[in-house]
Amino acid sequence: MPRTSPLTSTRKTLIDFAFLAAAVAAVTMAVTVNGQPRWVTLVVFSLPAVASANTALRPWDADADVSLVLFLAMAALGFLGADGNEGAIATTIAISLCDALTWDTFRRRRWHAVAINIGATTLSAGGAASTYLLLLQLDVLQVIAMGASVVAYASINICTLLFSVYLDREIPVKVLWSDIRPTIPNYFATGIIGLLVGVLAVTIGPAVIVFSIILFAISRWTFTTFLRLRSTQGAVLRVFVRLIEAKDAYTAGHTERVAVFARCIGEELGLPPERIDRLHRAALMHDVGKLAVPSRLLNKPGRLTPEEWDVMKRHNTVGVGILGRIDFLRETAVTASDKHGHYNAPGHDTPPDLVFEAHIVAVADAFDAMTSTRSYRQALDQSVAFAELRKHSGTQFNPECAEALIAAIERRGERYGAGHETDIHEFAVPPPIVGVGSAGLGDLASGATAGVSSTSDGEA
């Protein structure tokens, strides 16, 4: 989890002023060099831009936002660029600012965000418009001018945002970049289409803009609905997690911690965002087989008999098998299945990337099992857990995944295990300091052969 270090108010104010000063300088230069905004064009394009910006989707979910404001600003640039180009830069900047000056930011008095957004948007739009007009004047092919303009917009926008967020919260640039990277295609899609539509509008008439806006509005509506569905999907996964944890009273918080550790490993290994999302989902569901295991077995305080152990294993396997009949859970079933998590397991027909994700979840699972207090022993120290992960690397655990988790935790300076637990279950009989046996499923294999119910989730 990224550390945040709030800025002092003085430093924050200085950053705000720097961004606002840059915006004022850019606007002054635009008006001086290219003339005042074209007011009719500005009003016509700003009205839908204002409407769009004030019904904006949540910023954190902007991984493929269909930005009407960027589309409209670029359409105005294309339109004015093909129509004498005077005032094009200032008009483009003014329309783009509709994205920065939303009612919500004012209502919530987010002055810092307003200042940063004004600076970033002004510089991006000004840079894009200047690049486009300059290349047109140099008689460069129009398609190249369009591409260069969008590249300018995207680069300036991304750089200023990275810079400001880094200064603001000291989030590592790598993490920020992984958040921003998915938005890049959006700049090109909406930016270039906007420019093209603007150019076409000069030749064909406003019908082009009207029909394009209809299409973008539909896209935007669809995307908003998509976000709602995704939020509901998150709620369904939370229900699953609650039900799984309700079955096994001794492992409170385990599922979500495993998902966090799995995400850490994925990020440390540089997996792409969509794969990390899948990994996170799979980790949340890794104990789904427990749902088919009778609670009286999961929560049995003593050791399981070999027969009970057999029932537990079979029910887990069948539970995973049944849920695996559903497409969405088919991939998850791989991580929920014991056989794929073990590094030395024999080859299967499963795709390698899913097996690798199962290895990641197995490491995350084992680490959390070792650093949590269970009915059969108290939480181990983090250093002991690291040593165990390394000891079994190459046999039980994938060495790459184990080292990635250790590196991520050490780099972030986080502490887990004895003395650092957040979710502590109250046991009727205090667990011993060391020992085996538990209430989970993952490490049943070793215990079962010895007739012992050593069932900490994946414990080595």
Binding site: V208, Q233, L243, P294, R296, R314, I322, I326, F328
Partner: protein
């Protein structure tokens, strides 16, 4: 079930080439090049096989863009030739790919919609020779949509009946794109037709993401409905079968799409609260049920609300009180209650349907329940295969449970839907 991401790369590639191909083809036709007519025909066929889908029951062929745009771009005879051969090609490919049934429905849909769009576009162009290309295209679009609504009332697409309201954004999208492509091609030329098709690509991208999220959510809810069954609180396949009945009843009662989805989701999840109550061990003697159906409904609704699930579904579960004879406060609640009760009586044996119908009808106390029971009666009489299909939908999970007696989780009378009320051994 929807295979996620299967056709996306092909469809995207086809979409990308669409604008260019249409523009190239249309322009070249004016110079009379036969090769380009052939290319255009293939493009129409390919686009007709690529869906523009919001959901599985709200998909229209991407080829609609070409079908709508062509009457304004080509002379009537050439447009007719391109559309006819394109439709034949698409039908042949679909038949080879998915069989005669799907091929026939694809062909029928394409033939009817193409004929309507072409007739309308040509009629407007002939009646008003000075009409703008946008007007001709819009006329073709209106005719296309009307014909598609009619034809999809008769033929099923991918095994589903088209949800016209759900497909409205897709209709607006193809109509707008067709107008853009047509006027750009006519007034500017070939190259800009590509530009005009780019907004369609962005829209399609949004549609795909939405469709995938929708499918994933449906499947997750489906999985959640299985949880009580895995825990031994209900017979395996019950949620699937009851959802099948609830869906059919909702359609029969002409509930809106949103209401139907709420009813089906509530039916799937109405036993969720039971998971909090562990079933007694096999042979265990109990006097009192661990929890009443009332408790189960309340507990299930609470779990969903706490997790941030849409409250309307949780509310419906709570008021429907599935498994009881409580008077349902609404039509939706009555559908949930009756679908669950009917499956409880039929289970995996379709031959019990008549007896089950008689029982639920006899038990129906109030007006709303009686109405729903009567509709269920009519539904089963009109479509006797309904029960068989519902049973088959639950059998998918039964296969995975082979080798394990989930009944052992439920006690000696495993199979009842009221596992909380166990008889003394």
């Amino acid at each position: 079930m929807i295979p996620l991401d299967r056709h996306r790369p092909i469809a995207l590639a086809v979409s990308a080439g669409a604008g260019l191909a249409i523009g190239l083809g249309a322009t070249s036709l004016w110079s009379g090049r036969a090769l380009t007519v052939g290319v255009l025909t293939v493009v129409v066929a390919l686009l007709s096989l690529a869906p523009l889908r919001l959901r599985v029951d709200a998909a229209i062929p991407l080829g609609a863009v070409a079908v709508i745009a062509l009457p304004a771009l080509l002379p009537a005879a050439q447009a007719l030739g391109v559309l006819a051969v394109g439709a034949l090609l698409a039908t042949a490919v679909r038949t080879l790919e998915r069989g005669v049934g799907d091929g026939r429905s694809t062909g029928a849909r394409l033939a009817v919609t193409s004929a309507a769009a072409l007739a309308s576009g040509v009629e407007v162009a002939l009646r008003w020779p000075s009409a703008d290309v946008a007007v001709v295209t819009l006329a073709a679009a209106v005719a296309y949509v009307a014909a598609d609504i009619v034809v999809t009332r008769v033929v099923q697409i991918d095994g589903h009946r088209l949800d016209v309201v759900g497909a409205a954004p897709a209709y607006v999208t193809v109509a707008s794109s067709a107008v853009l492509i047509a006027i750009t091609t006519e007034r500017v030329g070939v190259a800009m037709a590509l530009a005009a098709s780019l907004p369609l690509l962005v829209t399609r991208f949004s549609f795909e993401r939405y469709a995938d999220a929708d499918a994933t959510l449906r499947q997750t809810v489906q999985a959640l409905g299985l949880v009580p069954e895995l825990s031994g609180q209900a017979p395996l396949g019950h949620s699937e079968r009851a959802a099948h009945y609830a869906d059919a009843l909702s359609r029969q009662l002409s509930l809106s799409r949103r209401e139907r989805e709420r009813v089906v989701t509530a039916t799937r999840l109405c036993r969720l609260g039971a998971v909090q109550y562990d079933p007694p061990a096999v042979g265990e003697l109990i006097d009192q049920p661990a929890a009443s159906p009332d408790d189960v409904a309340t507990a299930g609704a609470k779990v969903l609300r706490d997790a941030g699930f849409p409250t309307d579904v949780a509310d419906l579960i709570e008021v429907a009180k599935a498994g009881t004879n409580a008077t349902p406060p609404s039509l939706e609640a009555a559908v949930v209650q009756l679908a669950v009760a009917f499956d409880e009586l039929v289970g995996r044996d379709p031959s019990r349907a008549d007896h089950a119908l008689a029982l639920v009808t006899a038990r129906a106390g109030d007006g709303v329940t009686r109405r729903v029971a009567a509709e269920l009666h009519g539904l089963v009489a009109h479509d006797p295969a309904l029960v068989g299909r519902a049973v088959a939908s639950g059998e998918v999970f039964q296969e995975a449970a082979d080798g394990l007696d989930l009944r052992s989780l439920m006690g000696p009378d495993g199979g009842t839907l009221v596992p909380f009320v166990r008889r003394r051994a």
